[in-house]
Amino acid sequence: MDWIALRPSLEQEREAWGWRALQYTPRVAQAEEALVLEVSASLRLWGGRRRLLERLFGQPQPLAAAQWAQGPTSLQALALLRLQPAGRPATDDLPLQVLSAASEHLPVLERIGCRTWGDARRLPRAGLARRFAGLVQALECAYGEQPEIHAWLQLPQAFDLRLELPALATQASELMWTAQRLLSQLQVWLQARQRGVLALELEWTLDLRRLNGMELPAHERLEVRTAQPTQDMAHLRRLLGEQLARASLAAPANYLRLRSLDTVPWAGASGSLLPQDDAPGEALHQLIERLSVRLGAGNVVVPQAHADHRPERMQSWHPARDAAGLLATARAGRRAGPLPCDALYPQWLLPQPLRLDVRAEKPQFQGPLRLLAGPQRIETGWWDDGARGPAVRDYFVARSEQAGLLWIYRERPAQDSAQVRWYLHGLYA
């Protein structure tokens, strides 16, 4: 048998250390202030004890460092861990203080001159068992003469962890420090479960029930989603940071809780042998998500073409976040040839047609316009009972001395020329 006892330097990370240890052996148990893990069955898989210890405690790792000790039984490993600064004595010389089962009998044992494990074992077994309940059994377990019984740790199905903030947070950005700690524990959980996260929920508990006479909710929430499953916390941290920078707390918060909403099996990050495929920089969906969070989803858009004769309906703009998959899968190459008449469309379109002044029966835009080509008649949209009615227009290519070539139209049902309405709709660039 081969046992490792480890004690995390931060009490809140005990659970996460347990999850981390579960990656290396299925036999992990809580033992008072520490964790004990039995590794004899998995030593060969990880290439020996030294390699296993290097992987388990080596840097870089998401959690704060832990103290550890190893021994042939869990109680010995634990005793050595408790004795850590004092060095490593022989098993018989271990003091009785480091054995939990002896802690309540310590004064009596001290008075009869019994200080070490060896002293206790030299006493008659029957009398010891009668006077000090549990001590004999603990010693026999520690020496490996009796089997040890542990309640083995199991990985939870979903990640749900709650931490107390070091101080009351009055601004959302102050939550970030604790959120980072939660994220690193999430990473450990994801690695242990072999899953990638798609959606998270950060929830903070408000310290006040009422503020200025207003009832406050007990919790406030923030949801973070990403397009592709990830185990990489750097992207999630940045997303969370952007969202927290925009969020506001209704009242000071004292607890923070992180939950995983949606996880999928993790396929692993795929690398490439070709150097040009491993371009430095972040992935496209990460860029789009970060831009969408900071600028607003409506400000990060991609066009989508529609079959319509009205220029303003020929394309619509959609948030890139929803179409990120489309953008990412678009391959290099040439598309099918466009319609020849499309070549006469302008390259810029005004978001709203601009009404033009008419002077001396000529439309004006930074001076009088000269019509060069047209009309191109559009008579469509009668089925749309919108406020604007059907589009009945004549499009012209016009030239302005100041602004170059423009794409303008006049609305057609005009009885007399005094009321002809001209609009600027596009610009040739």
Binding site: L287, P311, L326, A332, R334, P338, A343, W348, E361, A414
Partner: protein, 231 residues
């Protein structure tokens, strides 16, 4: 100031697709991994005519999107697609504050999958441009920054500075490039070939007899009289 090693290395370029322009650009095209500054009086004019061939080409070669940061108007898909641009791979960012535009531009440059970045930055300082230039250099990106023509006297870290002028044809002054300065502006057509052909046909049709088409005679326009019917 150019140092010897800068000039000795042949820069990576994307051919601009315009022969007259390729002849004056060092290396024969738009430099990759360097800031290209385009100064012009009215933002957006002639931009696509100047850049479309190169953008169409880079979209063929690379998979990522072309990012437009704060374009002055909406790019019109059908008009651009007709000239070989894959419009479904345009990514438009609207950002009003100056700092947000700069941030978005830099983030786009640092992304691994972006093919090119076009940014309209009317007020931008020299050190901010340098930052963008370095980001483009790091990632070997195609970066175009459009500024006001008033800024032509200000110093700039760009390796290529162009002044875009003209109405009926593009007059392109190369203010700064690697190599000897260019004295005469380059003349480029301001309209696509099809539109130019249409306008020429119209002109020759109208010139001998008819007066210029005015807005008044509405009754004469007819549904069959469509531009699409004219070659």
């Amino acid at each position: 100031m150019w140092r010897g090693p800068d000039l000795a290395r042949q820069p990576a370029v994307v051919p601009s697709g315009l022969a007259a322009l390729d002849a004056v650009l060092p290396g024969g095209g738009w430099p990759r991994g360097a800031l290209v500054e385009v100064l012009q009086q009215s933002p957006g004019r002639h931009v696509w005519q100047l850049l479309l061939p190169a953008l169409g080409r880079i979209m063929q070669d690379e998979a990522g999107p072309v990012v437009l940061v704060a374009p002055p108007w909406h790019p019109f898909g059908p008009g651009l697609a007709a000239q070989g641009l894959r419009t479904e791979r345009l990514l438009c960012l609207q950002a009003e504050p100056r700092a947000a535009r700069l941030w978005a531009t830099e983030q786009a440059l640092r992304c691994a999958q972006v093919a090119a970045v076009l940014a309209w930055l009317p007020q931008v300082r020299n050190e901010e441009l340098r930052r963008l230039h370095l980001a483009a250099q790091q990632q070997e990106r195609l970066l175009f920054v459009f500024r006001d023509a008033k800024d032509r006297r200000q110093p700039s870290p760009a390796t290529l500075r162009l002044l875009l002028e003209g109405i009926d044809s593009i007059e392109l002054n190369v203010l700064k490039r690697r190599g000897p300065p260019l004295v005469r502006p380059v003349q480029l057509p301001a309209t696509s070939r099809r539109l130019a052909a249409l306008l020429a046909a119209r002109h020759s049709l109208r010139a001998p007899s008819r007066p210029p088409l005015s807005a008044a005679p509405l009754e004469e326009s007819h549904g069959l009289d469509r531009t699409a019917a004219i070659p």
